[in-house]
């Protein structure tokens, strides 16, 4: 099955064209002294990273295996995106704010850094965090501060940087890291395994409902650095956790690479909700600069009745290449994917999900909302596989595209593989445009064109926004309006 819809009437300027340009509000650079490796990638680079982090041998060995594997792999070309070849030797693979000793409280964090987070609107200070979120902030490659670790520790929850987890909880890391996304999985996953510098580690013990939303803000500050973080979340039997991830990066003319890996493991009756609002710098109108966001995210529902839910709102990045996936191994396990992806200017997004049904009675739901404006290219690529053992498995996919203007495009590539005759797969897809009739109707009622567009777009995304934690949903809505309402910004 394959359907593609392209609108290429060239000079049919609609009033919407004016609305879809907007500035990037997070484009500041923080002047902080940092310890940065010179550009280049070799086994020596990896030895140096590992040494900086004082890692045990098994981690270094794993990195080197990944690196050798990566050398033998090719940059994937199947995605519906175009970009110049990435020169992996021109990037630096390690950058950390200087002065970083072990930090015990926020008072010890560089005030410039806190200021940077304040500008991003991250609730890093404890008072704000009291409102409900614990924040693990990753500034370039090193995790800077972890708030609320103590109250989490009381509940038995481990929430720390990956580097710290490797030092303090090596058995857990060794057991699970790479168990969902092996280093050999794909080109960027292999690169990440070789050079990852930090990330977040979460462990929820058996029967524990994590007492607060956990959240990480990633930010690429240093020029010419790639960011390769790894996140690992383990939810033991009967536990549950909701994790929020937000991303922004300063405005730069050159492209930057972000190749993260996220692994989730849910045991019997455990549930993990992973929400992302991604607003990496998308590049300018002509497509200069911006983040290349090539990410591997995968969750394994290992236990019976386990539940993994991915929700993402993607408005940034020059190129996004990302398929948060679920391996539904345990019987009666449930996988969900809710996504809003916006492309405008010259942005390209090739995103979707994979739902691999292995256990009996497994269920998955996919709701993908793609919005294209300007010259944006939005591709949904989804795989639903019903394996032999997936007796009575169910999938429902809803894949909607909304086009703003005549020069953008939406493409849909659903791949469906059914090896079990009992399994049921439903796929629905729609493509719509905001029509002049709709805009006129709203304006006749006194609503400005911009407000009308944002009202219709928000309506289009409602199904996904309602899956986000409340405050995040409000943020996501604001972000979306900001992204699409250029005329006022």
């Amino acid at each position: 099955m394959r359907s593609a819809l392209k609108n290429d009437q060239e000079n049919d300027q609609t009033p919407i064209d004016d609305l879809i340009r907007s500035g990037y509000a997070h484009g500041f650079v923080t002047p902080i002294e940092s310890d940065t490796f010179p550009p280049g990638l070799s086994e020596n680079t990896i030895l140096k990273i590992s040494a900086k982090k004082n890692e045990p041998d098994w981690v270094l060995e794993w990195r080197l295996k990944a690196y050798r594997r990566w050398l033998a792999m090719e940059d994937p070309e199947w995605a519906h995106v175009k970009h110049p070849d990435i020169d992996f030797q021109s990037m630096s693979y390690y950058s950390a704010p200087k002065k970083k000793e072990s930090l015990n409280s926020l008072d010890e964090v560089d005030p410039q850094l806190l200021e940077a987070y304040n500008k991003l609107g991250i609730p890093l200070e404890e008072q704000k965090a009291l409102a409900g979120a614990a924040v693990d902030a990753v500034f370039d490659s090193v995790s800077v501060a972890t708030t609320f670790r103590k109250s989490l520790a009381d509940a038995g929850v481990i929430f720390c940087s990956m580097s710290e987890a490797i030092q303090k909880h090596p058995q857990l890391v060794q057991k699970y890291m790479g168990s969902v996304v092996p280093y050999s999985d794909n080109f960027y996953a292999a690169l990440n395994a070789a050079v990852f510098t930090d990330g977040t580690f979460v462990y929820i013990p058996q029967g524990v409902r994590c007492p607060m939303e956990l959240s990480t803000y990633f930010r690429i500050n240093e020029a010419n650095t790639g960011q390769f973080e790894r996140t690992l979340i383990i939810a033991e039997a009967g536990s549950s956790v909701s994790y929020l991830e937000g991303c922004t990066a300063p405005m730069r003319d050159e492209n930057q690479l972000h190749a993260a890996v996220v692994e989730l493991v849910a045991m019997d009756d455990a549930s993990i909700k992973y929400s992302t609002v991604q607003n990496w710098y998308p590049g300018d109108e002509q497509g200069k600069g911006g983040i290349y966001n090539f990410v591997t995210k995968r969750g394994a529902c290992r236990g019976k009745r386990s539940h993994i839910s991915w929700t993402q709102v993607e408005t940034g990045s020059a190129i996004t290449w990302k398929y948060p996936s679920c391996l539904l191994i345990g019987d009666d396990s449930v996988g969900e994917f809710y996504s809003v992806a916006v492309t405008r200017g010259r942005q390209q997004a090739d995103t979707g999900t994979k739902m691999i049904h292995i256990g009996a009675n497994t269920k998955s739901t996919i709701v993908s909302k793609g919005i294209s404006a300007g010259h944006g290219q939005n591709t949904y690529r989804g795989l639903v596989r019903m394996s032999k053992g997936a007796v009575n498995a169910r999938n429902h996919t809803q894949c909607d595209s909304l086009l703003l203007g005549d020069q953008c495009a939406a493409h849909t590539f659903p791949y469906i593989e059914v090896m079990n005759p009992d399994a049921e797969v439903e796929h629905e897809a729609t493509t719509s445009k905001i029509s002049d009739d709709q805009l006129f109707y709203c304006r006749q009622r006194g609503i400005s064109e911009e407000d009308a567009v944002s009202m219709i777009v928000n309506g289009f995304c409602k199904e996904v926004f309602k899956e986000l934690p409340m405050e995040f949903a409000v943020e996501a809505q604001k972000l979306l309006n900001l992204t699409l309402e250029g005329a006022v910004g």
């Binding site: 719509s432 029509s435 002049d436 009739d437 709709q438 006129f440 109707y441 709203c442 304006r443 006749q444 009622r445 006194g446 609503i447 400005s448 064109e449 407000d451 009202m455 219709i456 928000n458 309506g459 289009f460 995304c461 409602k462």
Partner: protein, 250 residues
Amino acid sequence: MLRINNLHVKIEGKQILNGLDLTVNAGEVHAIMGPNGSGKSTLSHVLAGREGYEVTDGQVLFNAENLLQLSPEQRAHKGVFLAMQYPVELPGVNNMTFIRESINAIRRARGQDEFNTLEFLQLIREKAAQLQLDEKLLKRNVNAGFSGGEKKRNEVLQMAMLEPQLAILDETDSGLDIDALRVIAQGVNSLRSAERSIILVTHYQRLLEYIQPDFVHVLVNGRIVRSGDKQLALTLEQKGYNWIIEEDAA
């Protein structure tokens, strides 16, 4: 209140309105009738400011102001309301939210305070009850999957909420069942006032039994060729339009 002089309008190079004159004073109700394709909806759209129409000659004054230079939303802010012949669907946009956005946008533009949620809810419930509009429709998306008659009721509900100075109803009676017609007519009648003007575009004399017009006009080939009182509508019902067209040509 509204003064249209010698209005000429083209769509895609085709002349649709051809020297139309119409004056509507405050407090008056005018009915416009005429054969299919004669330009009634075109007139309504031009008054509301829809794009795609080229005004080649003539002028439109609304309270002595040049209406044609205003954007659709500015006209709405000044009190022009059009109940559309074919109301569009807004998937994903909750009807109640939409009406609140609308009323508050207009209030903001007029420098008035926005309605708070409670005031708004009370008002819309009251109006919906008057129009016997099922409250479930308020919770659904704007016009999405509404029946033809429900869409028309929803237009009248919006009119009742916005209390416009000039209300143009383009075939709001078409597609309504007999009871609905009566209810809608009551809704319109309750809006009649010395400060408000109403233009009713209709094909059916029946509506005019419920809403007594001060004037009835016949629009043919983009011009008003005959005006009269409600007796004219009765004559049209009996004799059709041909005799007028013939007399006009003669």
